[in-house]
């Protein structure tokens, strides 16, 4: 047993050092493409670190959103940037020392906060466990996200929507038509899309009792849509105008509507225990579709217009 724990500790130390090294490399990289690749690698190692910390819910979210979709968003943003001279780095610019100083102060502040934490904090775990029965679900993380601290999730959905509004208000028009994807990519996407939809549905359903839920399912569904967009499927014409807007607001709107309905009965963003399971499931389904379409629309990077029945 001794040897095994030593090996596990060695693995954890290597993982921690690897994360720090990757973070340093990606911040120092002058090549933006390389920095994005390092960021995705960082996200995957981070997901592994969450697994080691016994937080599979966070690991799933980190792998799907932190590494996967954010990587795709960064790549899409990079493709839209004018190509710039990479020999000119931020470090050569005036005032960079001020940024470094600020970052150093933040790091020192955060470090002192972490060091001043009490060694063993009881946390809210016991309280959540004792109230889990009235939450309507069996997974404590889902119970916190959608019942005990529902307004956090509501505000997160709003933030996603605001981000999309920001992208749309930049007013970029649709790019020129790209050439169709090759046979290999098309076949891969045809294989993966049904599988990704199945995985998303599973994650959504499993969220009530196990790691999973709306954000993870939405991210997987968004990944399927990003793949379809990359392979040249005209998703932006299939879902545009009012239909698109309705799907985008479905999650937040259901949240607000439910909050309004239960406000007088049990209070703000609380649900009657006998219906909580069903209500949370309805919320999660609506949120999943909203999250998926919002993320895919962010990747698209412009507001799709209703098709004018052109020749194609």
């Amino acid at each position: 047993m001794e040897k095994v724990t030593l090996l596990v500790m060695l693995f954890d130390v290597l993982l921690g050092l690897g994360l720090l090294w990757l973070a340093w490399q990606l911040l120092e990289s002058r090549d933006l493409f390389k920095a994005i690749v390092l960021f995705v690698a960082f996200g995957l190692l981070m997901a592994l670190a969450w697994v080691r910390l016994d937080a599979p819910d966070v690991a799933l979210a980190e792998a799907a959103i932190g590494a996967g979709l954010t990587g795709a968003l960064l790549m899409a943003a990079l493709a839209k940037l004018p190509s710039r001279d990479t020999s000119e780095s931020l470090a050569d610019e005036k005032g960079y020392w001020l940024l470094r100083l600020t970052l150093l102060l933040v790091a020192v502040g955060l470090g002192s906060v972490v060091l001043s934490l009490p060694e063993s904090a009881p946390g809210l775990g016991a309280e959540i466990a004792s109230n889990l029965a009235s939450s309507g679900v069996n997974n404590p993380v889902t119970a916190v996200l959608l019942n005990f601290r529902g307004y956090d999730t509501l505000l997160e959905l709003m933030v996603l929507l605001l981000a999309l509004l920001g992208v749309w208000s930049l007013g970029r028009s649709a790019p020129t038509r790209e050439k169709p994807a090759g046979q290999v990519l098309t076949t891969l996407v045809q294989f993966l899309t049904p599988l990704l939809i199945l995985v998303a549905a599973y994650l959504l359903w499993a969220g009530a009792d196990a790691p999973g839920g709306a954000f993870q399912a939405g991210a997987v569904l968004a990944a399927a849509m990003v793949l379809l967009l990359l392979a040249g499927w005209p998703l932006q014409h299939l879902l545009s105008g009012w239909a698109l807007r309705l799907v985008l607001v479905a999650g937040p709107a259901t949240f607000v509507a439910l909050a309004g309905l239960t406000l007088l009965d049990v209070g703000l963003l609380a649900y009657p225990p006998q219906h909580a399971g069903k209500l949370i499931f309805i919320l999660e389904v609506a949120a999943t579709f909203s999250i998926a379409v919002t993320l895919a629309a962010l990747f698209l990077g412009y507001r799709p217009r209703a098709s004018n029945k052109e020749s194609g």
Binding site: G182, V184, L185, L188, L192, L195
Partner: protein, 99 residues
């Protein structure tokens, strides 16, 4: 340790060897195409051996099925992505290495 333990240990170590060889190839090979070759070899065969080693230890056939599914997905993604990278590099004019 039973015979099946020895068998899975052998398979896992063999898989680890393929990953090591693939990593060395990725670092040492002269151009993008040969590096891709090294990388996909490690992913396909190395992971296959590891999956086989783990499948022997699996508690149920459902777990074996999940392990095989993981391998199949990595095979599919690895082969497709290697092809996409190589073909887009060829289109951008990256010349294959010649001795």
């Amino acid at each position: 340790m039973s015979a099946s333990d020895y068998l899975s240990a052998t398979l896992l170590i063999a898989g680890g060897f393929f990953f090591l060889a693939g990593t060395v190839g990725l670092l040492r090979f002269p151009d993008l195409y040969t590096r891709l070759h090294a990388l996909t070899k490690a992913d396909n065969v190395g992971l296959g051996l590891m999956i086989a080693g783990l499948a022997i230890q699996a508690e149920s056939w459902a777990v074996v099925g999940k392990l095989l599914l993981i391998w199949g997905l990595v095979l599919l993604a690895g082969a497709s992505v290697a092809h996409l990278i190589a073909s887009s590099a060829l289109k951008q004019g990256v010349r294959p290495w010649k001795k």
